[in-house]
């Protein structure tokens, strides 16, 4: 099992209160959601606003176009009918009935009237009793009596009459314009039928795209011209009469959902009523075609909207991912610092406590030591005592001395750990310094079958540090390494130094091939009083002191270990110790005591 811990303070990071990856994926989702809301809401609002405005605007434009078309066209049709009526009036008021009754005369007039176009199909003179006196045209209508027809009655009543489409004697759809002339007690009528096809083409002459059509229908909703698509002349117009309740209007006619054939798609319809005859002109076009440009623009806008949506989504995902990554990194950093702070705080409070305890213990120890001496002195001054008793007593007293010294050592260590000791900064040549330490312990190492291997960076600069504390650090680590080799016949302790240009300091690695440290011990190894050594052999302060010394000198220490394979301590030391350590130095050592 391989385990790496940066420092004792670094452990349990993923199991922290943030709940690991889950927390960040939740944060991620929340951020994505929020950024999407924040960017999509205005996008949709603007898009919707523009859509509404543009649709309304273009609809208004189209409607006004239709309206002007229908008005304009009505004008044309009315003008045509008026002109034809006045043609007839001109003839009837300038010619006598006797003249007109003569067929060649009537033909000449008919030909002149049709010179500009085939407006009229036929032309006839009818007397006041409804008899056809003269007739020019394709049908055999001579001698027909019209006295019973509706138009005859109307023209006799009104003087001028334009009829609706009707079949009549010729049995073909047509409409007539009739003009009455009264001269004294003589009355006669000039009647002409308008060419149905010509009239149709006139009405139809509004080109409204592929689906547009124009037609006329009368008050009863009977078609007066044959529309392009919907229906035939003289049939019932397809649009509901209720739609045309105003004098003129425009509207959207929705698809009749009840119509099983769905004959009529959604249409835009404009209509207007003619004055005389009371016909209505209808212009209509499929909605989809009329609004094609608008719909096209809307579709384009929709595509843009979707594109922006996609872009926003991508940006939001990417930026959120980046943000969450940054936050995660910050959190981890904060966590690490927090843990370090906790560890530092723990060590500091323990340091305070230890210092107090050490102080308090010092006094009783001093008393015990002096008390011991008092006993020794008293025994020596008493000659009557048995020699063997004296010897035994002195042995015991020596033991008391030895144990007091042991306690003393512990309190010294405690105080050292609690940083109450003073740094003595001096220039250190680290390589030489480490060589010295190795020499110091080499004798003991040989006895245990342990070899030293040193891999030192050449030309490592000398730097300011506390040699006595550093000595303690490395002696502690090496002693631990020795202990880790307990029960192994041989082993290696390798020490290496590397220059770290980036952090301006040196990295030192102390690695052993010992028994390694278990993960649960690794968590506690820098805690004071934690030891795996048997009672009396270790105080559990070594690594705590090491840790606090390295931290105090502005460095850091981390450990990697694998059970059965060994442990590696990585130490970093800066070339410049922290300012407070240097300040301390100024206070105490730069001005040496004058009386010393």
């Amino acid at each position: 099992m391989k385990l790496k811990l940066e420092t004792a303070g670094n452990r349990g990071q993923t199991g922290g209160k943030r709940g690991g990856g889950n927390h960040y994926s939740r944060l991620y989702r929340k951020f994505v959601f929020l950024t999407l809301i924040c960017s999509l809401a205005p996008l949709f609002l603007v898009g919707w606003g523009i859509y509404i405005y543009y649709s309304g605007f273009s609809r208004m434009k189209i409607e006004s176009y239709f309206k002007s078309q229908v008005d304009h066209h009505r004008g044309i049709i009315e003008l045509f009918l008026r002109e034809r009526t006045s043609d007839l009036q001109l003839v009837v008021f300038t010619h006598s009935p006797d003249y007109l009754q003569k067929t060649p005369n009537l033909r000449r007039i008919f030909n002149v009237m049709n010179r500009e176009g085939c407006f009229f199909t036929d032309l006839g003179i009818i007397d006041y009793q409804g008899r056809h006196l003269a007739y020019i045209g394709p049908y055999d209508l001579m001698g027909k009596n019209y006295s019973k027809t509706f138009w005859f009655k109307e023209v006799m009543k009104k003087g001028v009459y334009i009829s609706d489409m009707f079949m009549g004697f010729r049995n073909a759809p047509h409409f007539i314009i009739a003009v009455l002339r009264t001269d004294g007690n003589r009355k006669w009528i000039l009647r002409a039928s308008i060419d149905t096809e010509y009239f149709r083409s006139l009405v139809e002459n509004v080109k409204m795209g592929r689906t547009g059509e124009a037609y006329l229908s009368n008050r009863e909703g009977i078609l007066q011209t044959t529309p392009r698509f919907s229906g035939k002349i003289m049939e019932k117009a397809p649009l509901p009469a209720a739609f045309f309740h105003k004098e003129s209007g425009i509207g959207i006619l929705e698809t009749d959902r009840d119509d099983p054939n769905q004959r009529f798609p959604r249409q835009i319809v404009a209509y207007t009523w003619l004055e005389n005859p009371r016909w209505k002109l209808v212009i209509k076009q499929d909605y989809s075609e009329a609004f094609r440009d608008v719909n096209h623009a809307n579709r384009a806008a929709l595509i843009f909207l979707h594109l922006s949506l996609l872009v926003i989504l991508i940006i939001s995902v990417i930026s959120t991912r980046y943000m969450v990554k940054v936050i995660k990194k910050r959190d981890e950093e904060a966590d690490r610092l927090n843990k370090q702070l906790t560890q530092a705080g723990k060590l500091a409070s323990l340091g305070e406590l230890s210092a107090g305890v050490a102080h308090e213990i010092n006094n009783p120890l001093a008393i015990i030591l002096t008390e011991n001496q008092v006993i020794r002195d008293s025994v020596e001054e008493t000659p009557t005592l048995d020699e063997s008793f004296k010897t035994e007593l002195f042995t015991s007293l020596s033991q008391v001395d030895a144990q007091v010294q042991r306690c003393n050592l512990i309190t010294q260590n405690l105080l050292r750990f609690s940083r109450r000791t003073i740094s003595r900064l001096e220039t250190v040549n680290l390589n030489a310094f480490l060589e010295e330490i190795i020499q110091l312990v080499e004798g003991r190492a040989k006895g245990m079958g342990i070899q030293f291997s040193a891999d030192m960076e050449k030309d490592l600069p000398s730097f300011l540090s506390d040699t006595s504390q550093l000595q303690q650090v490395f002696l502690n680590l090496i002693t631990n390494a020795f202990d880790a080799h307990d029960g192994k016949p041989y082993g290696t302790i390798s020490i290496s130094t590397r220059f770290n240009n980036q952090r301006e300091g040196v990295e030192i690695v102390v690695a052993d091939t010992g028994s390694g440290i278990s993960p649960e011990n690794m968590e506690k190894m820098f805690d004071p009083f934690f030891t795996t050594k048997p009672v009396g052999k270790g105080t559990g302060l070594g690594l705590s002191i090491t840790y606090s010394i390295i931290k105090r000198l502005g460095g850091d220490i981390s450990v990697q270990s694998e059970i059965g394979k060994g442990t590696q301590f990585n130490i970093f030391l800066p070339f410049m110790p922290p300012a407070d350590v240097q300040e301390n130095l100024d206070d105490v050592f730069v001005n040496p005591p004058s009386s010393a």
């Binding site: 102080h359 010092n362 008393i367 002096t370 002195d377 609690s418 105490v588």
Partner: protein, 136 residues
Amino acid sequence: MKIPRILLVDDEVAFANNILKLLSKRGYDVTAVNDGASAIRTLGEKEFDVVILDMKMPGMDGIATLKEIKKKEPLAEVVILTGHGSVESGIEGMQLGAFDFVMKPVSIDDLHEKVCQAYQRRLIEEERIKQQESGR
């Protein structure tokens, strides 16, 4: 030969008593007091060669007492007793004119040696002053 006069100042009564006994046996004239104020008072009543002064005392602490002693009796050599954690106070004491400091718990032999050295210096100082006075 003159018996060296020692003033022992320590708030720990048992410790003071033991040192009193042990140093007396080693041929010193020892007076023990338990606080700084008594030390100053006693110093006014009687002359001492060496003062053994504990740094950590309730009331008037070692440093204050030391300053007072040096004011009253500049010739008296002061040996400071200090804990491991208060090396600073020992050094401070030396800056204020103490002879040296020893760390508690101290063996009687070490203390004896320091007191001896302090007494020797006191004698040398006295000699120098005498010579200066006679030379004038």
